[in-house]
Each structure stands twice: as C-alpha cells, then as structure tokens.
Amino acid sequence: MRSKIKFAVVVFPGSNCDRDAFNAVERIMEQEARFVWHKDTDLGDPDVVILPGGFSYGDYLRCGAIARFSPVMKEVVRFANHGGVVLGICNGFQILTEAGLLPGALLRNESLRFVCMDTFVRVERSDTIFTESCKPGEVLKIPVAHGDGNYYTDEEGLKRLEDNGQILFRYCSAQGKIIAEANPNGSVASIAGIVNTAGNVMGLMPHPERAVDPVLGRIDGRKIFGSLIHSLVRKDNESFSVHS
C-alpha cells in the first residue's frame, strides 16, 4: 500500500505556474511531485499529470496549439487514453482542448482584456475524482489570470456536455448564482471547468494551485487536489485489499 500520490508536472517553454503547482501538491498537500520537461518521453509512472498554466511557446498561433505537438504530449495522450488522471490548469486546459483530450476551445476573452482576479465557481458535480471533497453546489473562491479563457462549444457540443454531466465548475456569484456579471470571460454557459466522458481528464481556467496556502488568503484550491488524493488513495487501498 502506498500513502503518497505521485504527481508529474509538465514544463513547457513558457510555463509559469509549474512551480506553483509543484509547491501545491508537494509542500502543501504533502505528496510526491516531479517536473517533466516537454522534450521528455517518459512521464515516470505518475498517478496524476498536471499541465500547468503559463504561456507555452509564447501563445503563438493559438494558446496551446504548439505545445500539443511537444514530444511529451504523445505520452500524456497515451497516459490519458489508458485511464491516467490528467489535470490541465489555464494554459493546460487550452492544451487539452487543442490535443483533443477535451472538447471545445478557449477563445479570446469577450472583453479583450486580460483578467486577473478572484472568481467564484460553483461545483456542479461532487461525484467525480476531482470534486469528491466538495459538497454539491459548493462555491469555491479561486483566482483566474488569463486573456483567452472564453470557453466555446457549439449548441450541440454544449448539449453533449450537459447531458453527460461533463461541466464540473461554473462561474458564479459569491452566493452561487450563475449570473453574467460573475462570468469573467464570456464563456458559454459560464463554464469554468469540464471533464472528459471517461472522467479522468479535467481542465479548468481558474488556478487551484494559487489557492492552497493560507498565507495567500485563500485555500479552496485544496479541495480539488484533496479530492484527487483521497480518491486515488482509496482506489489504491481497494486494489490492495482485493489482491492481498
């Protein structure tokens, strides 16, 4: 039986939240973490791969468009297709949509402004490995920092997301109301984060790794990392008791 979950944090040229993500899972959540350079083709047998925020390849062409062709991404896609857990934050979310691991795309913010502020997001499902430590409908305070976070999918795509229960987080007011004023970027249906149909790949624009240390005044991001850690440790214990 293993007590610590192994996180691999992928570093692309231009990533700038990789150290925050590493710090969040290693120092705050007290798990194992290692960096994986974008040219590496060995993820090192992790439990979770994190694609961190930043501006990979200078956001040239489109955010995440070049990063998805990095050598490491072949391994990340293979890992995800075999059920491995992948968490894409901000630029990582953009990379996941470009790589086809998540549906839709992230457009320029409707305001054309870079937004950098706290947002509130409502937990739409608390029965996933990314949200199981949250209560249904719970409101989390997590900051955003992006210029291209305007989630887009067409009407059919949105219906699929809703029918499949793939929307995990929506921007909301502090009281949990889904209102236009609480949507920082113009995202369709106030979508802040989605999961794939298999439930092992999640992308979100807010930065949970920036909301884990009380010194910085917010800790709601811990619920997302905590959910992952709890669910993976539980799965590990279950398979341990089956095999022993």
């Binding site: 062409l61 468009a65 062709f69 949509t97 470009e98 549906p103 795309a105 409707e110 887009y152």
Partner: protein, 85 residues
Amino acid sequence: MFHAKIVVTLRKSILDPQGKAVEHGIHALGYDNVNELRIGKFVELNVDARDRQEAERICREVGARLLANPVMEDFTVSIEEVTHV
C-alpha cells in the same frame, strides 16, 4: 515550387470582439459605411510539390491539423506556382 497564402478566420457563428472593437474605431473615424469587419490570421509559405493539386492537399492538411482549430476557425488556401526562386 508553389507559394501558398492561407487565411484563417473565426467561424461566422463566433463573435469576434477584436473585429468589433476595430470596426468601432473605423466608425469613430467617420466611415459609417464600413461594417461586418472580421479579423483573422494570414500565413504564407512555400511548398515543394509535384503539382498544384499536391501543393493544395499539403496546405489543406497543415491548415486543418495546425494552422486552424476547426472548433472555432475556418481557412482558405490560395496557391500560385513559383518559377524563379
């Protein structure tokens, strides 16, 4: 050798806030007769190919696989043969 010009634009159904902002700027200059402004990306490249069809096929592949994201963008390709390099 062929020279290709590829224009990538946001799909018509998608709001183009950048285009809207520039259109407002043009209106502020007094050109009320300008509208439907959309902003896209322009890519030009050379491609070695046996003939125009092959050049076009390669450009369409590159457009669909990388230059444009089919979820939100369309693209057009125009090709001319280059005789002097």
